[in-house]
């Protein structure tokens, strides 16, 4: 198993920049998520690590060795494709044994290894069936079997759950994570589903428009977003953005939002002009004492919680509150925000302003 270092990697397709100079490190044994909307360059990044695309410039180190220009067969990396790409003219056993045959492993050893892997994945009973008639989940398991059978240094997975039914997806996500914990293999996983990324990942890289927006643990990315894009992309419903004009000075712990002082984490960086007050829905509370008033537009009941949509003087926002509180559309309520969680953004660049909340995270890029 191995550490993967991606250093200043860039990929151009003609004049189109698919990935702008990107760097990050995947530690040995980590379950690493590449997250972003479609077309952001996450799959291209994954394919460059696997060797299916060669980077235009930059270096990729696998276990300390520079591999960026090597063919995939010389990298010892396994890849699980979104559509599984099982060889349709072979049965399950042949599919799983195919990577071993290419290494010239003796027949008996191949057979034993395939049986072992099939046992881990619980697909022993379908080993001799053709892949054509398999269910989505079994195809997924066969694809995983083909990946793990030769014990590669790292696994690449390109939206491996994307082709499954919603109900089965969750089950498979658990199975995948359990498999990873058991094997302890470095895994790079591409997804556009932020819930999947949060649920399974040790670390997440959020990409947008060929650029890495943020890189960190799920908690860091959720609580301390580096940009408005990340804050918006992660979380459902996403972070509320309340635009305001104002001045922030280093050391201040208050901002003026429509005439009301709102506490924020102690600022390290100052800014003035168009700013954005970012607060997650679960950190918005209804309070009659508050002078900051908003009108209730709608309430969605979700069982334990409810999502209340409100019209504030700084724009629309959503609050996630206890389902037992009664709110009715049309009424006006006071709002309070949990101040230690607030992030301020510069509106023109979308960048988060540094405060005691996020300084450590933003400091490591």
């Amino acid at each position: 198993m191995a550490q993967i270092v991606v250093k200043n990697v860039k990929k151009m397709f003609g004049d189109f920049t698919a990935v702008r100079e990107s760097s990050f490190t995947i530690e040995d044994g980590e379950f690493f998520m590449l997250l972003g909307p479609s077309g952001c360059g996450k799959t291209t990044t994954l394919r460059m690590i696997a060797g299916l695309e060669l980077p235009t410039s930059g270096e990729i180190y696998l276990d300390g060795e520079e591999i960026s220009q090597r063919p995939p067969s010389e990298r010892d990396i396994a890849f699980v494709f979104q559509m599984f790409a099982l060889y349709p003219h072979m049965n399950v056993r042949k599919n799983i044994s195919y990577p071993l045959i290419s290494q010239g492993m003796p027949r008996a050893a191949v057979k034993a290894k395939v049986e072992e892997v099939a046992g881990i994945l619980g697909i022993k009973d379908i080993l001799d069936s053709p892949v054509g008639g398999l269910s989505g989940g079994d195809r997924q398991r066969v694809a995983l079997g083909r990946a793990i059978v030769r014990e590669p240094k790292a696994f690449m997975m390109d939206e491996p759950l994307g082709a499954l039914d919603a109900e089965f997806r969750e089950h498979m996500a658990e199975e995948l994570r359990a498999l990873h914990d058991r094997m302890g293999a470095t895994t790079v996983y591409v997804t556009h589903d932020q819930l999947e990324a949060m649920q399974m990942g040790d670390k997440i890289v959020v990409m947008n428009n060929a650029v890495i927006e943020q890189f960190g643990t799920p908690q860091e990315i959720y609580d301390k977003p580096a940009t408005m894009f990340v804050a918006d992309f992660i979380g459902s419903p996403s972070m509320n953005f309340l635009p305001f004009k104002g001045t922030v000075t280093p050391g201040s712990e208050m901002v003026r939002l429509n005439g009301h002082d709102e506490a924020v984490p102690k600022m390290i960086e100052g800014a003035e002009g168009d700013l954005v007050f970012g607060v997650r829905p679960e950190h918005v509370f209804l309070s009659n004492e508050s002078g900051y008033r908003a009108k209730v537009l709608a309430a969605e009941y979700l069982g334990t919680t409810q999502i209340v949509t409100l019209q504030s003087p700084n724009g629309e926002l959503k609050a996630r509150i206890d389902a037992r509180e009664t709110v009715s559309p049309g009424e006006t309520v006071g709002l309070e925000f949990r101040s230690p969680t607030i992030t301020l953004f510069e509106k023109s660049t979308g960048r988060a302003l540094r405060s005691v909340l996020n300084d450590e995270v933003l400091g490591n890029g």
């Binding site: 696997a50 067969s73 060889y87 990577p99």
Partner: protein, 312 residues
């Protein structure tokens, strides 16, 4: 109560459609039936009017097709009794068999040239189609159009330049020359058809093979080729049928050495009067290889012809 379905045809319309298809098939089969029957008729029955449907079958046509015969005097015939059943048949015209005809040789020429050019067309066509489908080829669209443009006129239109070219290169009346010629005509069809088939094969299969430790070429022949089998089979049928049936170039460019069956069969007419049974026998035997080949490839053919229309 009967129930109506919008998508499912009613029994009555199924019957009508079936009858129409069967009727049409019977009409198109009349020439084939005529050839098959005429091959087993005597020369007199073959030209009788109205045509005989019921007749006494004889192998005369086949014997005449495969042998050369000479007329002999009565004394010679009396002195040499017939040696076998074929000899017996020709005796009724006071003839004896003196040797095999050229038909066997011509037929083998057809086999060599037809299958040779089909193999070469498919081999080159598959490689070219794979390259066009998967790689960034400079001027790809122009090259593909150029390849297609060789099909935009009837091949015979360039017969004279090809005749001169073959004469200068020493390719006239050679197997190699005919194989190259038919390959040249078929390759555009092969490249275009096969490119369509290979485009349909997801790249992920090859990428999976690359990841699994195979080279690009191994991925091509271990993963892509088996997937393209349907396309290769149906393309091969089209190529073979063209090369097998081609007449004009065969007449023009071949004579003693590499002549194929199509220009040979009509020459039978000239040998001993209008020998329709022999011609029909030749045509029947000539049909057999393509028929067998098509039947062998049949399961691939339907999907091949409707490719692109039916998605997996």
């Amino acid at each position: 109560m009967s129930s109506f379905s919008v998508t499912e045809p009613s029994n009555r319309s199924k019957w009508i459609a079936g009858a129409l298809v069967i009727g049409y098939a019977l009409i198109t089969m009349i020439p084939l039936v005529w050839i098959l029957l005429t091959g087993f008729k005597s020369p007199a029955d073959a030209i009788s009017y109205p045509p005989k449907v019921v007749f006494e079958p004889t192998l005369e046509g086949y014997v005449n097709l495969f042998t050369t015969r000479t007329r002999q005097t009565q004394e010679f015939l009396d002195a040499n009794p017939p040696q076998n059943w074929a000899d017996e048949i020709v005796r009724q015209y006071d003839m004896v068999i003196v040797g095999p005809s050229k038909f066997g040789e011509r037929f083998m020429n057809s086999v060599i040239i037809g299958f040779g050019s089909t193999f070469l067309s498919i081999f080159l066509g598959t490689l070219a189609a794979y390259a066009f489908s998967r790689f960034k080829v400079p001027l790809k669209d122009d090259l593909l159009f150029f390849i297609l443009s060789t099909r935009m006129m009837p091949p015979v239109a360039v017969a004279i330049p090809i005749f001169l070219m073959f004469r200068n290169l020493g390719l006239s009346d050679t197997h190699l020359g005919m194989i190259l010629l038919y390959t040249g005509v078929n390759i555009s069809l092969a490249v275009w058809l096969l490119k369509g088939f290979i485009d349909e094969i997801p790249r992920e299969y090859e990428e999976a093979a690359l990841i699994d430790g195979y080279t690009r070429f191994q991925a091509f022949y271990k993963v892509v080729l088996p997937q393209a089998a349907t396309g290769i089979a149906s393309t091969a049928i089209f190529c073979l049928i063209f090369a097998w049936n081609e007449y004009a170039f065969a007449v023009l460019l071949t004579s003693a050495n590499a002549q194929t069956a199509p220009p040979f069969i009509p020459t039978i007419i000239g040998i001993g009067g209008l020998d329709w049974p022999a011609v029909a026998a030749g045509a029947t035997i000539f049909l057999i290889p393509v028929m067998i080949f098509t039947i062998l490839m049949r399961k691939h053919l339907l999907r091949g012809i409707t490719f692109g229309a039916v998605r997996k």
